[in-house]
């Protein structure tokens, strides 16, 4: 046993690594130094460990990063600066793609608009609610006047009348003269639906529509007696009906079925129709 405060070799050896780490307290370091001064064996072990550690340090430190590493780190940081922006940009692009694809599919599937199929099924859903003779006018109003996009620029009454041909040209001014204020004839043409030919004149006030429809009467077709007949001044029975937002009024001549279908109230629709009945009757005779 050495003197108090002095180390034996085992104790000294146990402190060599801590000494190399530089983590001995001053007192510990001084005590170890005194032992090493007098002990060649422990000093040699310390020198060897120092040398091994130096070799270890050298070999680990010999590994260098690839030459471009610092550049990549710097550009990574610069990209990282705007990374939030880039990420939002990416998200925005992704969202745009989703909206475009989804939107296109929805459009294709008719979620945003009425496809020809959905139009027909809409017509099929409301038309049976009225008497068969009324359906003839209603279906074509919905099919041809309602499901249509109207251009902002209108043709004149004369131009429209011209497009119907001399036989029916007079219908355009007849309708224009009797529609409520603000309505404007915007369409006059021949059209057909379910194999039936129509003369079709449409007046429009913003989203409200009035259709005057004339079609050839085929055998046996007549306004039935159970429909409410509104006696007109001229003595022509006018029949009136309604379904959803549509009001239908009609009368018959020997050759034609004549309809006025509109978004007006049933009463107003009938009144407008009655007012033009005499003129129509004259024109269609």
């Amino acid at each position: 046993m050495t003197a108090a405060g002095e180390l034996n070799c085992a104790q000294a050896l146990a402190r060599l690594d801590t000494r190399l780490d530089g983590e001995l307290t001053e007192t510990e370091a001084a005590t170890l130094a005194r032992h090493l001064e007098n002990c060649a064996t422990c000093s040699a072990v310390l020198a060897n460990r120092m040398a091994v550690r130096e070799r270890l340090r050298k070999v680990v430190r010999s590994a260098q990063p690839a030459p471009g590493m610092a550049v990549r780190v710097r550009s990574g940081i610069s990209a990282g600066n705007g990374r939030n922006g880039a990420r939002w940009g990416f998200l925005a692009a992704a969202a745009l793609v989703l909206l475009t694809v989804g939107g296109y599919n929805s459009w294709k599937n008719g979620h945003f608009r009425m496809t020809p199929e959905s139009r027909l099924s809409y017509i099929a859903s409301i038309v049976p609610e009225v008497a068969p003779i009324m359906r003839v006018g209603l279906q074509q109003h919905v099919h041809c006047a309602v499901f249509r996009s109207y251009s902002a620029q209108n043709e004149t009454v004369a131009q429209l009348a011209g497009s119907l041909g001399p036989q029916f040209a007079a219908l355009v001014p007849v309708l224009q003269a009797r529609v409520p204020a603000g309505f404007q004839v915007v369409l006059a043409h021949r059209c057909n639906f379910n194999g039936r030919q129509y003369i079709h004149v449409v007046a429009r006030r913003k989203s409200e529509l009035i259709s005057l429809l004339i079609t050839q009467r085929s055998g046996g077709e007549a306004f039935e007696s159970d429909l409410r007949a509104v006696a007109s001044e001229a003595g022509t029975p006018v029949y009136s009906s309604g379904i959803k937002r549509f009001s239908i009024a009609g009368f018959e001549t020997s050759r034609y079925l004549v309809y006025l279908v509109s978004d007006l109230s049933q009463t107003e629709n009938a009144t407008v129709f009655e007012a033009m009945t005499p003129a129509l009757r004259t024109d269609l005779s």
Partner: protein, 195 residues
């Protein structure tokens, strides 16, 4: 008359200043971080990734770095967090700790002689240590961190650093003594050729 600098301008200049500071404080430690990452991950590509990620994270949180404190230790802390994170993700290292088993055979290890060791033996012995032990040796022996800093970098108490170091060095010595013994003849012959 000096025009007032708009807020956006101030932010821009603050950013530019921070960037210059980061360049001066953090970038000089790139080599140290890389070689440590290389020892901890085992291959250059992973080390590369770990260092990139370390600098990115460091830059992002550079405003939380206390000026005047040890930037190198701060970067190493981020590196170890990153590597640890990658390691957990990759399951690259065996979870079972074979350290105790290895220690059994090292109780009376002879001292390896520095001149008898070749570089690849030293590196091989270091790399064969369990990761936590290897980390302690790399941080203290190679990177010359104080125990206190090594403890912070590894996120363990100082006592744990000391016991890991003590065990790691015993294992290292046993490995190196074994290596020197088996390659000793070849080593001597090569030395003879060289002289």
């Amino acid at each position: 008359m000096a025009k007032p600098v708009p807020a956006a301008g101030k932010r821009f200049f603050a950013k530019a200043n921070a960037r210059a500071e980061f360049e001066a404080e953090a970038m000089p430690h790139l080599d140290d971080l890389f070689r440590t990452a290389l020892r901890m991950t085992g291959d250059r590509a992973r080390a590369d990734d770990a260092v990139q990620e370390t600098y990115l994270q460091a830059w992002k949180s550079f405003d939380t770095f206390e000026k005047g404190t040890n930037c190198r230790a701060w970067l190493f802390r981020i590196l170890f967090y990153t590597v640890h994170h990658q390691r957990r993700k990759l399951f690259r290292f065996p979870v079972a700790d074979t350290a105790e088993e290895m220690l059994e055979s090292t109780l009376a290890a002879p001292e390896p002689i520095a001149e008898e060791l070749r570089d690849e033996q030293i590196l091989g012995a270091l790399d064969s240590l369990p990761p936590d032990y290897r980390a302690a040796v790399v941080l203290v022996d190679v990177e010359e961190f104080a125990y206190k800093d090594a403890a912070e970098i590894m996120g363990v108490p100082i006592g744990t650093v000391m016991s890991r170091l003590s065990r790691a060095r015993r294992m290292l010595r046993a490995q190196l003594a074994e290596a020197a013994k088996s390659y000793g003849i070849g080593n001597t012959a090569r030395k003879g050729e060289a002289s």
